[in-house]
Symmetry: C2
Subunit: 193 residues, 2 copies
DNA sequence: CGGATCGTTGATCAACTTCAACGGTCGTGG
DNA sequence: CCACGACCGTTGAAGTTGATCAACGATCCG
């Protein structure tokens, strides 16, 4: 479990053995079965979670009860309701396991303590967030400027693994499309080839 | 000019006088008149820019020549084509001044050097990016799950200054709507009151 | 076996875009 | 200093994309 996390961090910054050991002390592990909640809307998000195995979705429910999937998290990704975690406010998002999942959790206080005790983690997260920002900018462009078909094609190209591992109705929700629309797009695209 | 930047940084982290002075040495200033370019698509984005005065837009042009506005930057905001800046690849985005603008620029190399020489800047940018991520997550939710009217209302509520200072066709582009749609929404909302 | 979940297809409908025309304002150059 | 063009906002009419509603077959799992 920890090896996945350590490997992920060492991929971006250097870490001494002492730091590695100290780092480990901040995390607790947690397993989720399919459909179990990591976070429910209205609760405060107490932890930032690293996915060492499995797949989760985070989504919000609108007044009409529709789920809008915000992001998926595969192995090597971090997930939380970021606003809720940072500011310890009520969460807007729900997070549940799509597959059986193993997580490493760090609490809000430990997150700050870790940054102070292991300053290189500031750098690690700065780089991580930097990359996330680029991705989210790109998603924003796609989501407000592209047609349904283009949105699906972009995802298929950039993240084929999500399409392989997830049911299509979840993909639809992630793209902000009706499941029927995704079905029709897939048919159309398969005919093209 | 620098005072605005220093104030912005000190709002998030502590900075000694020595660090302040060193920090200043990394930046150069630049002024833009209305419509002047800070960055053109295809060029490499050499600098990360802090807006000390004015207002810019960043946008990308699709095949059909339509502009999709990605973000605006007011006083106190940072702007760049992040992917281009970080990885020194070709920019996808254009950035131009909407109003007369004053900027402070830091180069890619100096950005890294600054982080190493003034480690607290890692923290500053980590916090900054953290907040940006929350905002962008929210925008993604709004942009893929809400109606045109809801999108406009959300912006009016969260960022009335943008609506005050920008022509409505730019607001439309930012929201991914046709200018006519925004016009009709405004009419409808004004009748409501 | 039986229910739940998922994907597909067809028909209708609504939201938003597109196209076109017009009036107002602003700034610039003659 | 006025006139012209550029830009902006508005309105109407028509067109399109994608959502919604409904029904059905397939698969998976307890």
């Amino acid at each position: 479990m920890f090896e996945v996390l350590i490997a992920h961090i060492k991929n971006k910054v250097d870490l001494s053995e002492v730091q590695e050991a100290r780092l480990a002390s901040f995390f607790i592990s947690k397993k989720l079965r399919k459909k179990q909640y990591l976070l429910k809307e209205g609760d405060v998000c107490r932890h930032l979670s690293f996915v060492s195995k499995g797949l989760l979705k985070s989504y919000f429910s609108d007044e009409k009860g529709n789920e809008h999937i915000n992001m998926f998290a595969l192995e090597g990704w971090w997930i939380s309701d970021f606003n809720s975690f940072i500011n310890q406010e009520q969460a807007v998002l729900n997070i549940t396991a799509v597959e059986e999942t193993e997580l490493l959790l760090i609490s809000r206080d430990d997150y700050d303590t870790m940054m102070l005790q292991i300053p290189v983690m500031d750098r690690y997260f700065r780089i991580l967030y930097q990359n996330s920002l680029v991705t989210k900018d790109y998603r924003l462009i796609v989501s407000s400027g592209y047609t349904a078909e283009e949105k699906y094609s972009q995802l298929a190209q950039n993240n084929p693994e999500l399409i392989r591992r997830l049911p299509h109705n979840l993909i639809a929700s992630y793209l902000g499309l009706a499941p029927e629309t995704v079905s029709r797009i897939r048919k159309k695209l398969s005919l093209k080839k």
